[in-house]
Symmetry: C2
Subunit: 229 residues, 2 copies
């Protein structure tokens, strides 16, 4: 399981748990400006009593190129039209390829045949490495990449159970499985006390999803605008 | 350029330099037992006056599963028949997938359209992620993975100029380009003073390549058997 501590990966974890999988969670400290998500992932992993939770650290700030790692402004208060217009500066170059590559490595060592990833191609930010055609291409590559695969001892499948769901459907799924979303973090620009901004793309998508699911978002937002959405 | 400091990546660097590319070298400190190769990569990068040399660090020992990261014995004195028999314990799970994923990320940020990788499918150790079909699948995935690619601003190509060469041909190519192989490290099990063992798969392939090229291997081996091969 790739576990970021956000709504999507947490809901994916809940789905895999419900299906009876033994859970191994993998989180990355990759030089993101805000580490609140790493703490969230640890809370979620503990709540689901995963067999192991590993945090792999490396520094993507060496390369730069993203508002999530560099000192670039995170866009705020974008309209739906603006959100739909191209890939935003919060895109981190090749991030899912790097994350899935590490997941593939760990899966091979564990003898695991299932990698779960909470990508979502509907209510998302337009990232290229969240699309079904990208996942299919990664799968085709992964089928040729490993020793255990080539030797026919292991076939590692990448599962993306949320890929065709709206954020509303994701939240409804999670709530029906008893997910405690108060443990999750979505904000691209949280305050020092970890309260969410309520205005970045991730917060807007999250708030829209809760509103459409007619559910209350249990996390704290740092301004009234955020709370009232 | 993925640069490990071995014969293959150094020769690949020399080929790219001869073709006039501006060189950006990427090396990994991934938890390998022996860091002599990282020092070798730095020497080679300096010799070729690369524009930048970055070393990305992460710890694959978290996962385990390889004689190059774990406390497993490195096979010695294998016969050609033994070398040809399956994928050895020196295989590191999904290593080239992880390395190429980072290269893809950096290439996107740099605006670079060419990734060079010194994999070799003839005189090699049988690793699945050195084969042409694996590289082609990674390329297909990479074509869908990046923002700049999806937006049509950048097409990143993976070059593997050594993939169909024998070790002899690789060494002959490098010598014709003036490569100083005394700066390189191949051994899977070097001594504390960095002398090569002369008996692991990597040393055996290297020594065979130099013997067939009728050239002297300029590095030091720690036992007479190694030197005299």
């Amino acid at each position: 399981m790739l576990l970021s501590g956000g709504i999507d990966s947490t809901t994916t974890l809940a789905l895999a748990a419900r299906q009876g999988f033994e859970l191994y969670a993998l989180t990355f400290r990759y030089g993101q400006r805000h580490e609140a998500e790493v703490a969230a992932a640890a809370r979620v992993a503990q709540a689901f009593r995963v067999a192991r939770h590993e945090i792999v650290a490396f520094n993507l700030r060496l390369f730069g190129g993203s508002a999530l790692t560099d000192d670039l402004a995170v866009p705020k208060d974008q309209t739906p039209a603006e959100l739909a217009r191209g890939i935003p500066v919060t895109y981190v170059p090749a991030r899912n390829t790097i994350f899935l590559a590490f997941a593939l490595a760990w899966a091979e060592v564990l003898g695991a045949e299932d990698i779960f990833l909470g990508v979502n191609a509907l209510d998302y930010s337009g990232y290229p490495d969240c699309r079904p055609e990208y996942i299919a291409a990664f799968q085709a590559m992964a089928d040729l990449a490993t020793k255990a695969g080539v030797e026919g001892r292991q076939h590692i499948r990448i599962h993306t159970p949320l890929i065709a769901l709206t954020k509303r459907e994701i939240i409804e799924t999670g709530l029906s499985l008893g997910v405690d979303y108060s443990q999750t973090v979505s904000c691209y620009d949280p305050a020092a006390d970890d309260t969410a901004c309520g205005r970045c793309d991730a917060c807007l998508l999250r708030l829209k999803g809760f509103a459409e699911a007619r559910a209350r978002d249990p996390i704290r937002y740092r301004d009234a605008a955020g709370v009232s959405r």
